[in-house]
C-alpha cells in the first residue's frame, strides 16, 4: 500500500497538466492580478489585495490538484485497463480507492504552498505562524469534497469527456465561486450562488482566518453538505463502475 501511494504521488507530481494548471497557473494569475489591481487596495474581505488574492489562488490551485489526480486519471485508467489489472493483485479495491483520495490531497499541498511562497516573496505577505497553520489545515480539509467529486467523475465519465468535464467544472467553480472576481462586484443572485459553491467555501475559510476571524458557519455548512453529497456520489459511482469488470 505504501509503495502504491508513493508511486501514485510521484506520478501526480510529474504530471505536466498538474504542474502547469495546478502550480504554474495560480502563481501566474496571482502575479497578474496583483499587478493589474494594484498591490495596495483593500478588497471585500477587508484584507489587503495580495493576501486576498493569495488565498483565492491557493484555493484555485488546490482545486485543480485534486481534480487532476482523480477525474481524468481514473477515467483513463479504467479505459486502458489498469484498474482491472490492479484488481487481480492483492491490493484491495478499498485500498486503491483511498489511495487515490490520499494522493489527490497530497498533490494539493505543493500547489498551495507554492502560491503562498510566491505571495510571501513577491508581496511580503505576513501572517502569524498560527494563522498559516490554521489556513493550510482548514483549506486543505476544505478541498476534500472536491477530491471526492473528482473520484465520482473518474468512475462515471468516459476517458474522452472526463478531462474536459473536470476542466469546465474547475473554471466554473473558480469563476462563479469568486476566486477570480470578488463577490462584492457580482450581482446579488450570483453572490448567493457563489456562496453555495465549495470553491468559495474553501477560500472563505482562508479569508476569515487571514482576517483573524473564525470561519463563518455558512461556509462550513456549505462544505459539509458538499462533503456528504460528493462522498455519496463517489461511493455510488465506485460501486457502479469501479468494482465491476468490463463485461
Amino acid at each position: 500500500m505504501t509503495g502504491f501511494l508513493a508511486l501514485e504521488l510521484r506520478r501526480s507530481l510529474r504530471d505536466v497538466r498538474y504542474l502547469i494548471i495546478a502550480v504554474a497557473m495560480p502563481i501566474g494569475l496571482y502575479l497578474l492580478f496583483t499587478g493589474l489591481f494594484g498591490a495596495h487596495g483593500q478588497r471585500a474581505q477587508g484584507l489587503p489585495q495580495p493576501v486576498e488574492l493569495m488565498i483565492a489562488m491557493i484555493a484555485y490551485g488546490a482545486m485543480w490538484a485534486v481534480f487532476s489526480a482523480t477525474g481524468p486519471r481514473i477515467a483513463h485508467e479504467r479505459t486502458i485497463g489498469w484498474t482491472r489489472q490492479l484488481r487481480v493483485t492483492p491490493l484491495s479495491p478499498a485500498a486503491a480507492l483511498s489511495g487515490k483520495l490520499l494522493t489527490a490531497l497530497a498533490a494539493a499541498l505543493p500547489a498551495m504552498a507554492l502560491v503562498a511562497l510566491t505571495a510571501v516573496v513577491s508581496h511580503h505577505v505576513h501572517l502569524s505562524a498560527t494563522q498559516w497553520l490554521a489556513l493550510f489545515a482548514a483549506m486543505w480539509a476544505g478541498v476534500v469534497p472536491l477530491a471526492l467529486l473528482g473520484l465520482a467523475i473518474g468512475y462515471l465519465a468516459g476517458d474522452e469527456i472526463a478531462f474536459p468535464l473536470t476542466m469546465a467544472l474547475y473554471f466554473a467553480l473558480g469563476a462563479l465561486g469568486g476566486l477570480w472576481i470578488p463577490l462584492s462586484v457580482m450581482p446579488h443572485v450570483m453572490q448567493g450562488l457563489a456562496q453555495s459553491l465549495p470553491s468559495n467555501g474553501v477560500a472563505e475559510l482562508g479569508w476569515r482566518i487571514a482576517g483573524g476571524q473564525a470561519p463563518v458557519p455558512k461556509a462550513v455548512l456549505v462544505l459539509t453538505v458538499w462533503l456528504l453529497g460528493s462522498a455519496a456520489a463517489a461511493l455510488l459511482a465506485y460501486r457502479r463502475r469501479g468494482t465491476r469488470s468490463a463485461h
Binding site: G3, R10, R11, G81, Q85, V88, P90, S245, A246, H247
Partner: protein
C-alpha cells in the same frame, strides 16, 4: 534482497498441497446471453493447463470467475482452497488479462517495484528481469513501449509476485511469431519453478505446444479434457477440399481417415484425421476431381460437430 519472512512461506506451502483450481457447476449469463452452463474445472498444483475453445466459448468468463472479477450465477469455485477473491488478496494468483493495461506515467522499473511490493513473497528482481527478458526496459516509460514490449511488461507484472497460480487470457493474441516463441519459453521458465499455469487460447497448436493438459470448452461447458495428443487426435481434423468432377458422392465417406463430409454443390470438404491417407485413397479411387487443397485444423468446425453430436 531482504530475507523472506517465514510466515507467508508456510501459508504458501500449505496452499501448495491443495488443488490449484476446483470449480464445480459454474453457470453465468449476461442478460439473455448464456456464457457458462455447469462448467467443472479441476487443475492440480504444478500443471500447465490450456483452456481451449473458439471465441465466445466462455473462456474469459471462466477466467473472470476464477479471479473473483465475476461472481457466478451458480456453482462453486476455490483457488488453493480459498474463494477466488481471498486467493487474489493473499497474493497466490497473478494474471495477464486481455483487456488489462499498465499504470501510465511511470517507468517500467518503478511499476514492477510497486507491484512486487503488493505481494508477500515477490519474485526477486533479478529473476523477474531474467524470466521476462526485460533487460534494458526497466528505465523506459510505460507509455512509450512498443506493443510487444508492453506485452512483456504485462507478463512481468503478472509474475512479479511469484504467484502459485498464473492465469493468462489469450496472452499471445497481439504477438508476432517470434514474440510468441519467446513468450512460451518464458512461461516454461516460470512453470519450471513448480508454478501452476492456466491459459486460454483458441489455437490448438499453442495448447499442444505449451500445455500438459488441454481442457476444451465450447458453448459454456467442458467438451473434452485430456493430453494434448488425445485432444489433437479428436480436434485436429484437417480439411481436404476439391471439386468432384465425376463419381458417386457416396464413395467419399469411405475414403481413408475421413470423419465427416460436407458438400456444397460439386465442392467437397472432407474432414480427415489423416489427410495424407485421405489424399492417397482419393488418388487410388475411381473418383475424378480437381482443385485439391488441404487446410489446417479447424477448431470451429470440430466444435460444432462435437456439439451437434452431444445434443
Amino acid at each position: 534482497m531482504p530475507a523472506a519472512p517465514p510466515e507467508p512461506e508456510t501459508a504458501q506451502q500449505a496452499s501448495q498441497d491443495r488443488p490449484a483450481v476446483r470449480a464445480v457447476g459454474l453457470a453465468k449469463s449476461y442478460g439473455s446471453t448464456v456464457a457458462l452452463v455447469g462448467l467443472d474445472l479441476h487443475v492440480a498444483a504444478g500443471q500447465t493447463v490450456a483452456l481451449l475453445g473458439p471465441n465466445g466459448a466462455g473462456k474469459s468468463t471462466t477466467i473472470g470467475v476464477l479471479l473473483g472479477l465475476l461472481s457466478p450465477d451458480a456453482g462453486q469455485v476455490q483457488v488453493y482452497g480459498r474463494p477466488p477473491s481471498q486467493a487474489v488478496a493473499g497474493g497466490l494468483v497473478g494474471a495477464m488479462l486481455q483487456d488489462a493495461g499498465l499504470m501510465p506515467g511511470v517507468r517500467v522499473g518503478e511499476l514492477l517495484a510497486m507491484v512486487r511490493g503488493l505481494y508477500p513473497l515477490p519474485l526477486p528482481l533479478d529473476d523477474l528481469v531474467g524470466i521476462a527478458g526485460l533487460g534494458s526496459l526497466l528505465g523506459r516509460r510505460v507509455d512509450r513501449l512498443s506493443g510487444g514490449q508492453t506485452q512483456q511488461v504485462r507478463f512481468a507484472a503478472a509474475i512479479a509476485g511469484d504467484p502459485l497460480l498464473l492465469v493468462l487470457d489469450e496472452p499471445t493474441a497481439a504477438m508476432d511469431v517470434q514474440a510468441r516463441r519467446n513468450f512460451w519459453t518464458q512461461i516454461h521458465a516460470f512453470a519450471g519453478r513448480g508454478r501452476t499455469v492456466l491459459f486460454a487460447t483458441h489455437y490448438l497448436h499453442e495448447a499442444d505446444d505449451a500445455a500438459d493438459r488441454v481442457v476444451v470448452i465450447a458453448g459454456g461447458r467442458k467438451v473434452a479434457d485430456g493430453t494434448p495428443a488425445a485432444i489433437k487426435a479428436n480436434f485436429g481434423d484437417r480439411q481436404v477440399r476439391f471439386t468432384l468432377r465425376h463419381g458417386s458422392p457416396a464413395l467419399l465417406a469411405a475414403l481413408d481417415g475421413v470423419r465427416a463430409v460436407d458438400q456444397d454443390g460439386a465442392r467437397v470438404t472432407l474432414h480427415s484425421g489423416d489427410p495424407d491417407a485421405t489424399v492417397s485413397s482419393l488418388v487410388r479411387s475411381e473418383l475424378r476431381w480437381s482443385g485439391l487443397e488441404v487446410g489446417g485444423p479447424d477448431l470451429e468446425t470440430s466444435f460444432l460437430r462435437l456439439l451437434a453430436g452431444q445434443s
